[in-house]
Symmetry: C2
Subunit: 635 residues, 2 copies
Amino acid sequence: MQFHHHGYVSGDPRVEPAAGVGVNRPDELPDEVDVLIVGSGPAGMIAAAQLAQFPDVVTRLVERRPGRLEIGQADGIQARSVETFQAFGFAERITAEAYRITEMAFWKPDPADPARIHRAARAVDDPTGISEFPHLLVNQARVLDYFAEYAVNSPARVRPDYGYEFTGLQVAEHGDHPVAVTLRRTAGPDEGRERVVHAKYVLGADGARSRVRAAIGCHMAGDQANHAWGVMDVLAVTDFPDIRTKCSIQSEAGNILLIPREGGYLFRMYVDLGEVGADDHGAVRQTTIEQIIARANEIMHPYTLDVRNVAWHSVYEVGHRLTDRFDDVTDVSGGRTPRVFIAGDACHTHSAKAGQGMNVSMQDGWNLAWKLGHVLEGRSPESLLATYSAERQVVAQNLIDFDRTWSTLMATKPEDLADPAELEEFYVRTAEFPAGFMTQYTRSLIVGDAAHQARATGFPIGKRFKSAEVTRVCDGNPVHLGHHAKADGRWRVYVFADAARAGEASAVADLADWLASAPDSPLAATPEELDADAWFDVKIVYQQPHTEVDLGAVPAVFLPRSGPFELIDYEHVYAADPEHDIFAARGLDRGGAVVVVRPDQYVANVLPLTATDELAAFFDGVHRGSAAERAADRV
Amino acid sequence: MQFHHHGYVSGDPRVEPAAGVGVNRPDELPDEVDVLIVGSGPAGMIAAAQLAQFPDVVTRLVERRPGRLEIGQADGIQARSVETFQAFGFAERITAEAYRITEMAFWKPDPADPARIHRAARAVDDPTGISEFPHLLVNQARVLDYFAEYAVNSPARVRPDYGYEFTGLQVAEHGDHPVAVTLRRTAGPDEGRERVVHAKYVLGADGARSRVRAAIGCHMAGDQANHAWGVMDVLAVTDFPDIRTKCSIQSEAGNILLIPREGGYLFRMYVDLGEVGADDHGAVRQTTIEQIIARANEIMHPYTLDVRNVAWHSVYEVGHRLTDRFDDVTDVSGGRTPRVFIAGDACHTHSAKAGQGMNVSMQDGWNLAWKLGHVLEGRSPESLLATYSAERQVVAQNLIDFDRTWSTLMATKPEDLADPAELEEFYVRTAEFPAGFMTQYTRSLIVGDAAHQARATGFPIGKRFKSAEVTRVCDGNPVHLGHHAKADGRWRVYVFADAARAGEASAVADLADWLASAPDSPLAATPEELDADAWFDVKIVYQQPHTEVDLGAVPAVFLPRSGPFELIDYEHVYAADPEHDIFAARGLDRGGAVVVVRPDQYVANVLPLTATDELAAFFDGVHRGSAAERAADRV
């Protein structure tokens, strides 16, 4: 955590100084905004939190509810999401209060007496160490609280505007704020009053029954029928020994997914209520909590469940469906760039069984938000926004395919499986997908080709930058290189040095000169009035142990000046840790490599140290016009 | 973190429900209180935070300043303190914002040109892995903020009363609130107004010039002369390569202790100004910041220091002194128990060079606070309070001896040392002391004899319980056994099982029966209206891997019921982790052992599983009268 560089900070350093539109932010929703987010779920809140890092962008988030979410909804947090929380500064806090999954148990009918369940198998949750982050379960409400905290502590001081319902929108062909959004007050003295807010861009993160989706004419395709579960968050006394372990329970009476929850006592059960036919007409939703509890007791026989308190319950009815597009551009060849986007459940619905929904939704929101920030700041062309739908629709399709396989397997009777261990084997074999690390974006404006991938085989282009341990030279601290990548909207350029030492003539020294002074260096795009590292976070990792790196000989581009006192920022210079050599761990060429990483932590490019032309060309596409043009255009 | 057991908690689980005197706590300082703490430094604030866990105890803390501390003061946080922060729920947060010391550098005159300094040595800070917690540097203000947060989030909802200055006290021989304390308003509309508050007990945590100390007639003995340092917290640009490393800098021009600070930019320097003679008459305190900076530049030659911003500076002048007692009892054989205590700098002063002051002060405050809570709740006899002075004065003496040796070594010219490496060797050799783990309390009411120490050689009686990794049976989570020990005022009984499995006839099964049902079991002292584990946190660690422990066969005393729904608390049952076997790591007898741990984490006793008589006898001394008598006497 870096602070004090604008002067001494006495209080919580997580509270950044207000800047730009955050300095005198009006409490009342204004008539004109840059970005209007509809919905305060995971997709909307992460987008607000990310955009709050852009001091010159007016972001407002409207939510139908009169206040924060209190109960229910999602609870599965994959390791990729905890990695994301780390970038938003709250991984350690939410981990401390969450339930951590380390193994899953599979209960099935006891062959000796099929009317009774028995523990058939246990599977370790992450046997191969996919991530340094844990797999957690915690109420969605807490995730939203932490994003809200980040948003309000960020320079633009974004707070949700509760009590506004979206009723419709119109996109004009021209104008600075072409999207006219009609909102209705759902609470307070003005309840029922409508008003129109004009936005440059709109994000519909308004859930499975998204009105924003309807307004831009997207349609959901997929299953004809829904599947129903009775879901309950309860406090209970039971003799079931695995009540604090994530379990799949398959019995002759039906199926349960058991999700232990934060705090040591609460748990959630998804009790399978079966397929819902078209002739159901909502009948399944009349299932009472008493019926859900009775069904759970039948399934868990011979164990019993004495429910003492119901924190929340619902009948959850959903099919596998995917929207045809994630934005309002119906003709991708038409040249019009999008103005309205949808994210999260508005785009993709599926079962809760793989614990994926909230996680994928957050990555939707993050993917879009930094792009909106860069376009609105004038850094990047509007065409950047087209990559959102292109990138995220593929991910959603993969999610739905995975979830369909997993939820079908979980609902299949053991005797109908080809192999009785098929369920647990699938769980272990596919662990990287539900952990959130299988996303790989393809070639685009912001993802390079794989011409030089061999220089850094452990950083696949298009996948998220998998952190590794290094030593910070200035203080000898062992740190995770990727954990310094905060959700601050910056591009990152990791320079992995060749074998030369700092100060020696080398490809690194030449690259450092070029980065610092060449007119076509990407860093040259940074406006002069900002700190040198405001747009690009450039880091170097030397091959020598930290005690052999002479800070006095490190090129200046890796020791940028920061803040009004022009202090040296030392946290850009690293050394391989001899005990956990990042060069070995990530397949880095000893001749060096440049790894370019997007603001959402995805690897954008891998290049040799000498490929300054390719590096310049890549950012030429990412940036908009010349530096002077950008300055003139900035919002 | 455990919660939800009194019903669903939607918000931050760190906020406990208000209870007892916390429910309608008056904003205004009342005329009568149970405990009055004077001073909001580390000793006072930890005491307030601990006492806030006792819902029936009225604790108020008065502070002369009108608000929270903002700048300056201490910054060294030893591993024992981070361990303590863990018990108060904020270790992970403060670690995230602090500077972490992993090594120290020693700069000395370059033999080739003694007018220039050079790096003579580096020493790894904790080469032997003394603790799983780090060694940190962070402003005292943030430590106080976190204790204040814990205090206000605890059931009794304690908040500091700012703007009250202590002017004197009188202790009456009789009465419920025998200590009459006179306070004067230092701020606000009533500035200058005096009032009297009557307290059962008073803690003077009012610093080196303590007026509470003077009021109870203690005197400080020690050095005749003071030593002076110019201290500055600054933002600067320098070519000194170790500016982000803790350094001892010895040059022909003098000595500096360099302390890098949180946030990546700020650092503190202690610039040695030498001994202050009796004839100084405050002259040294006239040293200006310009003079301190000039002196630092001379010492650091050939490196330069361009100070851009001074966050805080001071001339710090202090000698090694220790008070003759820590409470108001002048005749320990007289039978009177103490009513007024002093803690922290009020008791012991010394140099800042070993980074000990804040740490030892916090342990003072914690040591006393739980004892006050237990006496005021009627659990324990007043004689418990006499152990405070007895235990902490020895620690303070050891601190002063250590600091005198260390600060003398740091101030000695290299050519005058017997061995040029003496300084760094002393630093490494004595690392356990400054890390905070050398404290070992001797035999008393609350520390047993060492008759059975051989059963648990890794848990020395009188030293703090050194945590080790185990597996939580209910969810297979790898956890640190000691990290479950929150600062909740509870005694802890760790039962390390014999080789029998749960459910088999064994010494553990017999002990469990006795604990649960014997009239002389310590647990029988717990008032009936409280949860069974309200006074005692009893945990079991089995020798088998967690997959071989049948929760259904574990004795009920290790699965206590909790809260209004009488839910099962599963977080008392652990298993040895085959990869980090706690029995091997802590020298535990395979025949089992009982390890009794105090609320401040110090090991109170080690006993065989069969030693129920000794266990009963130990707690007979700790508890006051019979359970019925205690209930009648409770405040």
